[in-house]
Each structure stands twice: as structure tokens, then as C-alpha cells.
Symmetry: C2
Amino acid sequence: MKKIGYLGPAGTNAEAAAIKYSAGTSAELVPFETIFDVIAACDAGSVEEGVVPIENSSEGSVSITLDLLASKDTKVKICQEIDIPINHCLLVRAGTALADIKDVISHPQGLAQCQHYIRKNLGSVTTHAATSTAAAAESIAAGKFPHGAAIAAKILAEKLGLVILAEKINDFESVTRFVVLSKKDHAPTGNDKTSVVLSAKKDKPGVLFAILGELAKRSINLTKIESRPRKKMLGDYIFFIDLQGHRKDTKISAAIKSMGQKASFFKLLGSYPEA
Amino acid sequence: MKKIGYLGPAGTNAEAAAIKYSAGTSAELVPFETIFDVIAACDAGSVEEGVVPIENSSEGSVSITLDLLASKDTKVKICQEIDIPINHCLLVRAGTALADIKDVISHPQGLAQCQHYIRKNLGSVTTHAATSTAAAAESIAAGKFPHGAAIAAKILAEKLGLVILAEKINDFESVTRFVVLSKKDHAPTGNDKTSVVLSAKKDKPGVLFAILGELAKRSINLTKIESRPRKKMLGDYIFFIDLQGHRKDTKISAAIKSMGQKASFFKLLGSYPEA
């Protein structure tokens, strides 16, 4: 049976993304403790595919995904993207009402994303951190906080027998983007995206502009751009760019070739269907 | 006395940034619970200035800073940037040796940033989450974990009477960038940066390129670019751009004017000395 690794524990949005991705197939979903472990297992072949957050996660730390993908040591490609809307729920044990809540527990990012809701509806509760939203829900299920509520995903209510007191309590609507990593990227579908990472010298104004010009002159749409400082070299920057189209399309292929020639470092992260 | 707000609690890197910024002046440093609170207090005038993380924080959540700065409701400007190198230390109570450690506690981002170190040097310890690295250190000082160590900033060792077992245990060298917010940005110093946020329609390839062209044709250097999806409108993107120069410089002023005309939304976040 195909094995798909994901950033665990079970019950967080990464599992929801892995379930969505593997729907209708018979794959074994394997939780890993860290993003590094998922990518390493994928690179080593102990799992065929791996699901990790790449943008705006409720569990923090997506910069680790970007840094690992940019590394020359990482061989896996992006073969799919999966968007999961953030839906933080207020989970309690049966019998706990909104007015009873004295403690709220979640991943700090979850607490931060619901701070308006907490203040408006729960008054002066004490907030507690957990290593994940799933661990927060488990501590409520285990009775660690008799007057407690967890901020976590809906599926945990069913799994752990908790009651959903409120849904979508996050202050802003938002989506976490996950990517599926594999030894090979995806074949063209006609509605694809391609991710690349490249480096341009900070002290050469216009290099990035010239690189983007390779996209503009071919009317290739850019759907994401993000610069990150390179480790130990604050003067150098790397850029993550998502563009519309597949690397096998003639104009994308030509653009990639020209961009690669203009950049001091260039790595193709893969082509995959648009979410 | 001038009041400077910062993202608390005391003992995290945001306080270190506020201390570095206010060195040699007599300012009162006021911790706030959330990034939202710091910016709101600054906008309302209850503090003169506010210090919040904007890039690569050990305490997560910098996307909240970007979203709040992009909001039309936020009036404050960036008047300074401050870089603080991440230096995670292993803090214990006197008498605890490396071999005694059974529990490691930190903000989940701190745990993630030191995972290699933990595995290599501490073996099979149990990790616990705290709402901040400072809260983690306090729980060790309070004796909550008799065989515990906190991953937190060095200054907490002195404050809380803890022993530093190891320094710079973060797996990668990295810097957290903070910004100081104020009603007014900074006067020109000759070595400045300007931050702007703008929006371009996703379905118009080339708009961003045309906007960046206003920088390239004037040889203005871009030091950061980051796209973020706009809330509720996945088709629309906003871009955060840092460029070298002050908004009062003739060529920067002309570039900003032309960029503003090409963007569907444009907001100047301020000019300030380069870190």
C-alpha cells in the first residue's frame, strides 16, 4: 500500500490535507513529528509522498518548509497543492458551557488567530500553549483542565468525543496551503502551476526585474513571490516564485531556461495542478 | 517619560529589540499581550512608539503584523528596523546537568528551531509547549519541571537566576527583524529604506512587473518582496515591498508616485534608517 507521510500529529490540518489528497485511494497516512522528518522520509523513499504546510499555517513554522525546499540536498518535487480553510473550533467536554470556561488551550498561533473572539466571548480566561492544536484537544479530552476549552479542528471533536461550542472562531478567514512532495512532479493537466526558487544578488538592482521580465514578456502570470534572506548572508536574497503553467509548456520552458541563466542560483521545485 | 510598547512578555526578543532601540534614552518599556494591542495603543497614542516582529520571529505570527500594517485602519508608520540574532539557550535550574534533562519546554517555534540539537544532545526527552519562550523559562524557574530545561533567550537566565547549559542551540543561524511603529516615520539619514504595500490584480499578468519597472528604471534596489493573499479574495494579492532610499529622495518620491498610479491599492508604510 502507498505510504503518505504528513506533519503530525493526527487531527491537525495537515492530516485533513492528506485525507483530502488521498480520498478514494487506499493509502496509509503516516504522521511525522517535524517538517524535516516528512521531507527526509520522502527523499529517502520510506514514504512515496509527503504533505507539509507551505503558507499561512495554524501550527506555525512554514519558513522551515521553504528553507528545506530551497536546499540543494532536498531532491523531492512539489506534485500537488491543497488548500484547507482555517476553521478553528471551540471544543469542550460534554457539560461545559461557554460561561464555565476558565482556561483556553491551543497552539500559540491558534490562540493568536482567535484573540478577538476570546476577549469578546470568554472574558478573562487563562490561555495555555500546546505543541499542536491536536495536543490541545487531547488535554481537554483527558480532563487536564476541568473548566477548559481547546481551540482546534472540527475533526478532533468526533475523534475525541468533544462538544463543538463554536465554529469558525478565527478572527480572519484564512486558508492554509499544503504541498504534496514526491520524487516526481505532476504531468500537465492544462491548469497548472510551477514553483521555482532562485537567488539574485542584492547589490545588483534590476536583476530580479530582468528575471521577472522573462515572465512578463511571455504573458506568464505570477501567483506568488516571496523573498527570504539566505542563511549567514544577509546581503543575498532568495526568491520563491509560483507561476501559472506547466514546465513542459513551450513558453514556460523557455522562460525557466532564461530565468535560470540570469539567476546566480536556480532550482525548479515542480509543476502541479492549481488548487 | 516616553512610553514604548512592545510585544510581551518581558524576556523575549521583542523586549531585547525595545531595549536596543531605546538605549541611552529614558523611555518606559510597556509589554502588551498581542501584536494587535501594540499597534492599537500606538495608533491611539497611549504609547509613543511600538516594537513588533515583522520577519522570522521565534514567537511566530509575524503575518499578523503584515496584515495589520496593510490595513487602512492602521495609521502608524515604520520609523526604524531592528535586527536581533536568534540565540536560543538551554536554561536550567542550578544543579541540573545535560544528562538529567527529561523535559524541554519552549514556544513551539523555539522547539522547531532546535530540533536537531535536541535529538543529538538530549535524546528522548519530552517536549512541552509554552505561550512564549519567556513563559517557558519562568516555568523552569518556578520548579514546574524538576528535570526540565527551557529554550529561551540569554537575558532570562540573569533575570530568573537560571544556568545557561548551552548557547546558540538553534539549528540555523537566523535573525528576527523588528520594526518600531510611530505616528511619524524617520527623517532622511542618507542610508534609508522605504516600505510600501500595494495590490495588483492576479488576472493581469504584467501589472506587478510594470510596478517593479518603476524601481528598475530608476536603479532603485529592492531588498524585500512578499506577496500575501488578500482575505476573502484568493484571486487578489497584496505585495509588501522594501526598497532602498527615503521617500523624500527625488527618485524614490517619483517611483512611489508612479507605482501608486499603477496599483489598485497602495499604502506607504514609512521610511527609516537601514538596520
